[in-house]
């Protein structure tokens, strides 16, 4: 078989694979349709160039394969053709870049009404914190983290007391409500990524990073860690449930606030102290016995 034909089949196969592939992106569940559209645009432009270049190559290979009595054309360059190609390429690239930059501008500009969610990552798990009635999250410090303060909230920050704590890797979101994901990590890099929402950003220890999206499809989604974070990386999962406003309000009212949590912990501590006392008592008795 002529090599040109095989190369042609490769191009054709690529095209057919693209058309008939069962592996394609998941149904989008957020406002970032623009990203999908830009990808589609890039596919049309880029795919067109790929096919055009490869078919031209195949044509050349078939048409101009070696003949002993023929001479190749002698033409060191063609300024005009090169100019045309440069301009055309520049236009194509600009056409791809423009929507990219516009949507990126939306991506980094968070709408005013977005709900802030503190996503805290560690090796290997997630937990979440929502603002309470004041609508603001309290500041945090990693050094504050202990059993009584699992999020490391600064105790002297008045905004922190009513924060809603969700000590689970599952979180619920309200549909059509923009959320600003504030990512932080206590140890290494992580990345809170839901394929259906398209958006992602690394959680970096030492700073707080953010991105935003607006979930618009009710359902359950899986959270994946998308930045390598050690041996447990592949198993670092979480979940998101997008709910209607009523269901969401119902759910949020059942969650405990930092204030509740402190009160509960104090109770537990009291209980623990009692238990420890008892234990010590028993222990002492046993030691007595042994002696």
């Amino acid at each position: 078989m002529h090599p040109g034909i095989i190369f042609f089949l490769v191009v054709l196969g690529s095209l057919l694979f693209h058309i008939f592939t069962p592996w394609y992106w998941t149904d989008i569940a957020s406002n970032w349709v623009g990203m999908d559209n830009t990808i589609t645009l890039t596919f049309w432009v880029g795919g067109g160039v790929f096919i055009a270049v490869c078919l031209f190559m195949v044509y050349c290979v078939v048409k101009f394969s070696y003949k002993k009595d023929r001479r190749a054309e002698y033409k060191p360059d063609d300024k005009k053709l090169e100019k045309i190609l440069t301009v055309a390429t520049t236009l194509g690239v600009a056409a791809l870049l423009a929507p990219g930059l516009i949507i990126w501008n939306q991506y980094v500009t968070v709408p005013k009404n977005a709900l802030e969610i503190d996503v805290m990552a560690w090796q290997w798990g997630w937990q979440y914190r929502l603002p309470g009635e004041d609508g603001k999250l309290g500041t945090t410090q990693i050094v504050n983290i202990n059993d009584n303060n699992p999020f490391g909230i600064n105790l002297d920050d008045p905004y922190g007391k009513d924060d809603v704590l969700i000590q689970s890797d599952l979180i619920n979101l309200e549909t059509n409500q923009p959320v600003k994901i504030l990512l932080r990590s206590v140890d290494v890099l992580h990345n809170w990524y839901v394929p259906q929402f398209r958006a992602k950003m690394d959680a970096v220890p030492g700073i707080v990073t953010y991105y935003w999206f607006e979930p618009n499809k009710i359902g359950e989604y899986e959270v994946l860690c998308a930045e390598y974070c050690g041996v447990g990386h592949y198993a670092m999962r979480g979940g998101v449930e997008v709910q209607s406003t009523e269901d969401y309000n119902q759910w949020i009212s059942e969650q405990e606030t930092f204030k509740d949590y402190i009160a509960k912990q104090e109770n537990v501590e009291l209980e623990n102290k009692k238990i420890v006392k008892n234990n010590n008592f028993l222990l002492n008795k046993e030691i007595y016995k042994e002696e």
Binding site: F50, M57, R71, P76, L97, G100, G206, V231, Y234
Partner: protein
Amino acid sequence: MSDEYENKTGYQAQSSETISSGGGGGSGTVPDADHVRPAEIPEQDLYHGHSFITKWIFCQDAKVIGVQYFLLATFTGIIGLILSWLMRLQLGFPEAAGFMTAEHYYQFVTMHGMIMVVYFLTALFLGGFGNYLIPLMVGSRDMVFPYLNMVSFWSFFVAVGVLLASFFVPGGPTGAGWTLYPPQAILEGTPGSGMGILLMCISLILFVAGFTMGGLNYLITILQARTRGMTLMRMPLTVWGIFTATILAMLAFPALLVGGLMMTLDNVLGTSFFMPTILKAGEVLEYGGGSPILFQHLFWFFGHPEVYIVALPAFGIVSDLISVHARKNIFGYRMMVWAIVGIGGLSFFVWAHHMYVSGMNPWFGFFFATTTLIIAIPTAMKVYNWILTLWRGNIRLNVVMLWCLGFIVTFVNGGITGLFLGNVTVDVPLSDTYFVIAHFHMVMGIAPLMVIMGAVYHWFPLVAGRFLDEKLGKWHFWLTFLGAYSIYFPMHYLGFIGVPRRYFEMYDSPYVTSAVGMNEFISVAAFIVGAAQLILIYNIIRTLKIGKPAGHNPWQANSLEWLTPSVPPEHGNWGEKLPVVHRWPYDFSVPGAKEDFITQTTPPSEVAETEVEKT
């Protein structure tokens, strides 16, 4: 010691006019048209080895050093290949890979990446092809600092030794991913966070030191030791590619060196360059205030030029191969040179497109997306010029040309997906997924590999004096090309469904279940492609014994490396007198010429009746 140096006399600044017709017939008087400026650099003294050790091991001949680099890089590359097999076994057939833990998997991923990018591709292109071809192509006797060149190889040797030693230390090699991002690289929870990462950093620092010595050689040889008549704009594009890549390496490796050094200090001394306050297993570690993103900036300030360090020599070499085997001049030579230089220059202003979702200052996205897509323009020009070189050529469809065609297909494919990832918005859903893996394997794994293979088939007759077998070569090409394409083309679609990279296993997510079949397919293809490389090894061994002798200039090429008095060229390359260059290396199929090529040393008076446009 001084008697070991030989000054090949007979070619001094004063006595130049009588022999300036170089490769052509020296009839005594030289026509005006053939006049070339007399020599301005004195003849180089060379150290000639006497014993086996100084001739073949601690050798100062750039050609031997080139082969040494080539062999060691290939050896390391084969280790990288085996590691990739193990990874594919785990991903495709996890039940058959029961011996592999997640730790092993991540260690293999890391070592595979680092080996292939730095110790295989960089060393092979610059150390291997660079050493062998630069002096031959620019017409010098050797590299300008042969001793330094030898030390360069041996530092690379030690670097590889240290790298491989990390397989045998407690904790094993580092499993931090080839990007070595802190904090995880030096924290428990990542395999090899103690000795492994330390040895990796040491090995990289040795590599950089060794490479700097080699790189100085390549640059000064090209800038200051060309032969008479060899202007920069008469150099083959191979030399241009290697030259620009070396400049990039000289300026980019410092960032890696600094990053590696600072991480080593974080690891060993407990400094906090990259380490913020960290809570690990309920305890706050003794770090604080550092910035992990700084490492990423340093790493990619090196890492992006590194991509072009691998790609530019490939661009250059493939241009030469296409031109020779299409019997046609490379289309738009000037444009090709400026594209190489432009890509090289721009590559220092695009690094953070690897970091769109890293949490850096979000406004950087605008800057880096723009600069990144600007790079697409010169790159696209190069692609156009390659295929326009084929247009109305007289294409020999031999193995070398097949590899070039394979390069064009894979490179265009990978370049197009680069438009996806460089454009900041499109990168957001696709980054850190298999799309990225497919993209960079296609564009800087398979595409440069195609060029390496083409170059091996092309220059083997020069190095060994015998042709590699065509039939075996065709089997080798089709298995490799079709296999590799079917590994990486479908892999993009895994990225579309959102499978993150660096997952040890991926079968418990409902939406990726359908990836099982594809993973098995990719793994099988990977095994076949890897095994197909045995054909090349067999071919080389067979050829060395019974291959068809090549003789002088077997491909009817123009460039200087084929015009040495002896094949393979000896130490000193040119025998009695250096060649004199009269034209660019692409005068193929000139109308009116006797044959379809005019070598670079042919003086104008000999081809006066032809219609040569360029000189």
